[in-house]
Amino acid sequence: MRWSVIAWRCASFVVAAGVIALWQLAADRRLISPVFLPGPDRAWASLLRGFTSGDLLTKLTGTLTHMAYGWLLASVAGIALGAMIGSSKAMRIYVAPTLELLRPLPVSAIIPVAIAAFGLNQSMALFVIAFGSLWPMLLGTIHGFAAVEPRLYEVARVLHMSRLAVIFKIALPSAAPDILAGMRLSLTVALILAVVCEMLAGLDGLGQWVLLSARAFRSADLFAGVMLLGIIGYITALAMGAAESRLLRWQAARR
């Protein structure tokens, strides 16, 4: 079990190294013009230069901030709304069909609406990011709350637990796996939408950096930004996974 995990890690590392090597080869041989494709060496140099000059760091912080605010707002709203809807059968019956109608709506369709309502600014970005990342958490929470074992509510009644205690000690922990899965999905959505909003509204962030680099044919800078975005996605997913396995230790015991 542990060995196979290590083997998989090694394999993926070898593949990544191979891809970078091929990339370097393609750039050295000028298979694609350096205007469009810098080698990894140049992208790396640009990344370092960006950080030492401080520019890239500002953009990185910008994107992380947009992503975090939108995602947190969506988490609070999604869990609160989901808890309300999921714990009431009547709400589920009346509200769920509307949600099913809204859910497949591409978030890109909401962007013009948000721009019209807020203008090209931070509020628009916050709204779009939060709206887009709301769905996985909202639906996860609704499902989690609806699936709480009814027997546990009876245990709560027999013990005379308060409403608040029932929510925090029974419903939320019971729904935690669904909620956390939703939060993990939303993280990716939040990153994508942060980049999109930065591009559209010219907000300080990697989205803007990438767009401007592309327009100025600074391919090394462009790739540095893209690499950084990949790293953000990877690290946040890793952190979320760690938080999940910590919070859901009891599920590991089940296996």
Binding site: E149, R157, V158, P173, W250, A253, R254
Partner: protein, 267 residues
């Protein structure tokens, strides 16, 4: 045999000492009469066992006693007071222990749930949890999650959580029904010892007739469609009971015969 006992029971009003009293209780669920006019008293400290064919209303009667259902006719009283809702003095050991425990809490955490709810300060909880777990034979398992425990251990844990409520009454719904015979006999004796030490009143539902006689001071047999009392037996077997001696006692065999005949006739 059943006649004089029934006459005795129906001579309400309830005397002051009855801990739980069913006073002409009826329950209609979904347009169907599930329980029809049960009058029954359980004295403080008594162990009352309830038997009956599957679907005759044993679980429903227990839920009425717990205050989880409200009767549609008559009244359920606890120490003379009409029950409107569940009470902390009445603990329920559910049949499906796997569903009644919080899978995200360890054994200690599950016991703690009851202590938190009765408002015990956290400083005192650890000692009380250890004491309760030891009482049900789970001393070394405080850090285990329910899913890491056997069925017998999970049911012990549920009993420990019920004891944490410091209940006057334990309502048990086929608590050992899903366990193998050896585990069951062990738990029967542990339960008798526990109840003897706490002095709690017990209403114990089972489909195992021998278990009912072995544990009870009194056995009530329910008739189905709708659920009502059809038989009442007083068990005059010496205590403490013993898995071998009690079960070989001539009185045990006589009672067993009477119960079997009753169940057969009721089906």
């Amino acid at each position: 045999m059943a006649e004089p006992a029934l006459a005795l029971v129906q001579s309400s009003p309830a005397p002051a000492h009855a801990q739980i009293a069913f006073d002409k209780v009826a329950l209609v669920l979904g347009g169907k009469a599930i329980i029809d006019t049960i009058s029954l008293e359980v004295a403080a400290g008594e162990i009352l066992c309830v038997v009956g064919a599957s679907g005759c209303g044993k679980t429903t009667a227990l839920r009425l006693a717990a205050g989880l259902y409200q009767p549609t006719g008559g009244a359920v009283r606890f120490e003379g007071e009409v029950m409107r809702a569940p009470r902390r003095e009445i603990a329920v050991v559910f049949q499906d222990y796997g569903k009644a425990l919080l899978p995200w809490r360890t054994a200690a955490g599950n016991v703690s749930l009851a202590l938190e709810t009765i408002g015990m300060p956290s400083a005192q909880r650890a000692a009380r949890i250890a004491e309760l777990l030891a009482k049900v034979g789970l001393a070394g398992h405080a850090a285990k999650y329910p899913t890491e425990m056997s069925g017998g251990m999970q049911q012990r844990l549920q009993i420990a959580r019920c004891l944490a409520q410091d209940p006057k009454v334990l309502l048990m719904d086929e608590p050992f029904g899903a366990l193998d015979a050896m585990t069951r006999q062990g738990l029967q004796d542990e339960m008798l010892a526990l109840v003897a030490s706490t002095g709690a009143t017990v209403v114990f539902v089972t489909h195992d007739l021998e278990e009912a006689i072995y544990l009870g001071d009194r056995v009530v047999g329910l008739l189905p469609h709708p659920g009502r009392v059809g038989l009442e037996l007083t068990i005059d077997l010496p205590r403490p009971r013993d898995q071998l001696a009690t079960r070989e006692h001539p009185e045990f065999l006589r009672l067993r015969r009477a119960l079997f005949d009753f169940i057969k006739a009721s089906e």
